[in-house]
């Protein structure tokens, strides 16, 4: 990678510049959606279905409407003219994929409010708007509604059986998505392999759980008729376009602003019916309307994630070299087809990971069930695939009697093989190609840092009958980052000579105001302090995609870099003209342009002169750039209680060139914490009746500081050749491996007992269950375990 000619030696990129967003937040001056106060604001509350599947037999809103302070109660008939919700951008099948794989991808538009039937517990049925949220919630209790419960299916396998209750009556079955893909001749590979293992691994359902719940405030403009919407979304331009379409308004009459956002993790990266209902109500009533979700709604009715089952088989030669992989993936979509191929296909193209697998046969099906819909959550199909693959590798290693890390080493793609083609098609429908990385080095360092030899020695020395068992686990993963199609950046010299950068990708805590200012300042050659960053304001930059899919730094960062270089040229040209000297003799010094001969001018003066000092740049990635990492963990398992404690957790990652190391480290530690959370604690559980049972933070267990250890962090840097900055995305990376690593480690600890772990989370109860099962099955071989 060559560093572009940012000729001023400012060099912010690569520095741990302290975050500029902190001070405001630490004084309590953040502005999250719910903090905005507009005169005359009404507050909304949503009536949600208590049933997983039922026919609505009666819906009477008069009593609710009559409550003092209530302004409106909307039901399906009131919003019948509005187009139903479709996450169009996410549901589009790239032409290459459509042609070559011919996948079945069905689309189920989501009604804004339930008509006739509800299909999951939590589905919006009515919207009440009142003087306050207290009154709106009072009114919810006065809506008279009758339900006739219908048969329910929550298990995706069952949902695909003939005769299963249908989620969508106009469909003949619950099959929402189906595709097959492959490489080489897998049947032959499996036939001729020395060893074949086959296993079923399941990833349970998660809720992303940002600490700020979802929220929308919409205000109609009395003067210009425009609609302003403050939403804590990751994709403001998509929200704008959808509101405009749904309310039949020109898109430029809708102004969406993502202000401070209290975490997103994917849950705020899709469109929701509330983002259409609240603007609708605001326009209908001619008043600002605010809706803020409560935690119970967030856990039950904002999108869920992850639930997948993998029936995976590996074929290998006697030395453990992989010959083939076969996987049958089943995805529980929940009650709608929120994002189509995104998650299932992400699983497909990350399944092989950093390993050389010549023959591949993968088939995916996704089923609708009477549960809350699902969508991408940090990792978005990758943690699921890595769990299946890395668990399968451990089972294969056990079969071959190989050290699991040694089996991995034998199969890792080497830097000499880069760029490496897997033979599959990537998410854009192009040939999947790993651009860069050094996977063997990642693993070598992880093995080193975790002190594998030391752990094995301790294991062999420890009494085989002890209650405390130690285990070690590994996982190596990669991640296609920098999703297209584009991102935008507009960089403008303001009247005071300082700069404003507007980008399409808002921040939900990633620190864009700092990292993007670093990039812009370097490219233009000005001090960082003079660059103000505005993310996610649709009036500030007309087109944008958003902060999802580990893409913001790659796409918005490189758009910023380009805009900065172009603006630098424009500034120097304008100054050269004003000063009557050659542009190449000029330099930018803060808010002034100087000539060695003494002539100088202020940027402010150039702007005042009428020079248009603004550049808008788009970055359209030519392909995905691959970040990668190796994680390792040592755990202690108490066989009496089933308690798992993490003794050491190692992360070695590669995200190319790092813009702000402290921010990058924060992204990794946060991602790993979410991964650990899913591995050990969190699970969204449904009863067979479709009732969610983990609907508070007392039941859905987010880990606290006491549960998340300090991490041992290391990194290597293989800069991306696919963009000028050499960067790769890293927002999701940390969350991809932990479930595989910790499960491998727990199984390693319990191997002497014959335990195999096929699903998580590894709660004490589940660990004890596996030990009991193993005792029952292997009682004669296993060492005795006190119960």
């Amino acid at each position: 990678m060559t560093r572009q000619h940012s000729s001023e030696p400012t060099g912010y990129v690569g520095q741990s510049v302290p975050r500029v967003e902190d001070e405001r937040l630490l004084r309590g001056h953040g502005r999250y959606v719910d903090d905005i106060a507009l005169p005359g604001t009404l507050e909304a509350a949503v009536l949600r279905s208590p049933h997983a599947h039922a026919r609505i037999t009666r819906l009477e809103t008069a009593a609710a409407r009559d409550l003092q302070g209530v302004h409106a109660v909307y039901t399906a008939s009131d919003v019948a003219a509005l187009k139903p919700l479709v996450n169009e951008a996410e549901l589009r099948v790239p032409p290459g994929l459509a042609e070559k794989l011919e996948p079945l991808v069905r689309t189920l538009p989501m009604p804004l409010l339930a008509r006739e039937k509800v299909v999951y517990a939590g589905q919006p049925v009515a919207l009440v708007v009142a003087d306050s949220r207290y009154l709106a919630e009072d009114a919810l209790e006065l809506v008279e509604i009758g339900y006739e419960p219908l048969p329910v299916v929550v298990d995706p396998e069952r949902a695909l059986e003939p005769g299963a209750p249908l989620v969508e009556e106009s469909w003949q079955d619950n099959l929402a998505l189906e595709l097959e893909t492959g490489v080489g001749a897998p049947d032959t590979a499996f036939r001729e392999a020395a060893v074949v293992i086959e296993e079923e691994f399941a990833v349970h359902r998660h809720v992303p759980s940002p600490i700020e719940t979802r929220g929308v405030l919409a205000a109609p403009g009395a003067y210009d008729g425009r609609l302003t919407v403050w939403a804590n979304t990751q994709t403001p331009h998509r929200v704008r376009d959808h509101i405009a379409m749904s309310l039949a308004m020109p898109a430029d009459d809708v102004h969406v602003v993502a202000v401070d956002v209290g975490g997103g993790f994917g849950q705020k990266g899709i469109l929701y019916v509330e983002e259409l209902l609240v603007p609708f109500a605001a326009r209908a009533l001619g008043r600002p309307v605010l809706w803020r979700e409560d935690r119970n709604e967030n856990l039950t009715a904002a999108s869920h994630a992850r639930e997948q089952t993998h029936r995976i088989a590996l074929a290998a030669d006697a030395e453990g070299r992989l010959l083939g992989l076969r996987d049958r993936i089943l995805v529980n979509f929940g009650a709608s087809t929120m994002t189509g191929l995104v998650v299932p296909y992400n699983s497909v193209i990350h399944l092989l990971g950093p390993y050389r697998v010549p023959h591949v046969d993968i088939a995916v099906r996704a089923a609708l069930t009477h549960t809350t819909f699902t969508s991408p959550y940090r990792g978005a199909g990758r943690p699921e695939a890595v769990f299946a693959m890395e668990r399968a590798l451990d089972r294969l290693a056990r079969r071959l009697g190989l050290e699991p890390s040694e089996l991995r080493r034998r199969n890792l793609i080497t830097p000499e093989e880069m760029p490496y083609r897997t033979g599959l098609l990537d998410r854009s429908g192009e040939k999947q190609e790993y651009d860069s990385g050094d996977f063997p080095e990642l693993l070598r360092r992880a093995v080193d840092h975790i002190d594998l030899r030391g752990v094995r020695k301790r294991q062999s020395e420890a009494a085989r009958s002890g209650d405390q068992r130690t285990g070690v686990g590994f996982a190596v993963y990669l991640e296609a980052t920098g999703l297209g199609p584009f991102e935008s950046a507009r960089l403008t010299v303001r009247p005071n000579g300082q700069l404003r950068l507007a980008i399409g990708a808002p921040s939900q805590g990633q620190g864009h105001r700092t990292s993007m200012a670093q990039i812009a300042a370097d490219a233009v050659g000005v001090p960082m302090e003079s660059v103000d960053v505005l993310g996610g304001d649709t009036d500030a930059v007309p087109h944008g995609v958003g902060t999802i899919a580990s893409r913001a730094l790659v796409t918005a960062g490189n758009a910023t870099h380009r805009a900065g270089l172009a603006l630098r040229t424009r500034i120097l040209d304008a100054a050269a003209e004003r000063l009557g000297v050659p542009a190449e003799e000029l330099s930018i010094d803060g808010t002034r342009v100087r000539h060695p001969g003494g002539a100088e001018t202020a940027l402010a003066a150039l702007v005042a002169d009428g020079a248009e000092l603004s550049e808008t740049a788009y970055f359209r990635p030519g392909g995905f750039t691959y970040a990668s990492g190796a994680h390792a963990a040592v755990v202690d398992v108490d066989t009496r209680t089933g308690h798992v404690s993490i003794e050491k957790y190692v992360v070695v990652h590669d995200a190319g060139r790092i813009v702000n190391p402290v921010i990058a480290e924060g992204q990794i530690t946060g991602g790993v914490a979410q991964g650990i959370a899913g591995a050990l604690y969190e699970e969204m559980i449904y009863g067979p009746d479709g009732q969610p049972t983990t609907t508070t933070y007392m039941d859905y267990l987010l880990p606290t500081s006491s549960e998340i250890p300090d991490l041992h962090l290391d990194e290597i840097v293989t800069p991306s050749a696919l963009n000028d900055l050499g960067v790769k995305g890293l927002g999701e990376g940390g969350a991809i491996a932990p479930q595989a690593v910790l499960t491998n480690a727990v199984e390693d600890a319990l191997t002497p007992l014959g335990v195999v772990v096929r699903r998580g989370p590894l709660t004490p109860d589940r660990v004890r269950g596996r030990i009991r099962e193993a005792q029952a099955v292997h009682s004669e071989q296993a060492a005795p375990v006190p119960s």
Binding site: P18, R19, E21, D22, E23, L25, L26, R27, G28, H29, G30, R31, Y32, D34, D35, A37, G69, D131, S132, Y134, L135, S209, P210, I211, E212, T213, D260, V261, G262, G263, F265, D294, R295, Q508, G509, Q510, G511, V662, I663, E665, G666, T669, G670, G671, V672, A673, Q674, T696, Y697, M698, L702, T704, S705, S706, I708, D710, L711, G734
Partner: protein, 176 residues
Amino acid sequence: MSERVDHPPLTEPTAWRGVELVVNGRPLTAQVESRLLLSDFLRGRLRLTGTHVGCEHGVCGACTVLVDDVPVRSCLTLTVQCAGTHIRTIEGLTTAGKPLGAVQRAFHDNHGMQCGFCTPGFVMTCTALSEAAERPDEDHIADELSGHLCRCTGYRNIRAAVRQALDETHGKGQTE
């Protein structure tokens, strides 16, 4: 003299009370519904929106404020319960125009925050620890921190921030 707080029409007209309390050093008199949560009083009536509401059932700790110097979940506390108390919120920690206090600065110095939503709760709890007569021991600190959820940071830098703040207010403690 106590300042009178204007309020919107009471949403529970049959059950309201007058309360007098002190918020960030300001003596106030207000009429509040019996059911009005302290978090909603602070955020909605006083427009002190630095106190955030994350779960509304007392688990996440984002809404933590100090009531008579003790960390309290404002989402589980009724305003009427606070009559006669002194309440402190994140807005009250530092005067406008003055540099950040030791606890706030520690979170900045250690990158102990990302989205900033849970941060005020952590900062208020850490403030209480920093004002304790003696440096709290590590177990006590861990226990207090476990009353807060952060979804962004993985806690590592929050622990570092709390350590730095307490080092500054109580002198170096035992390090890990």
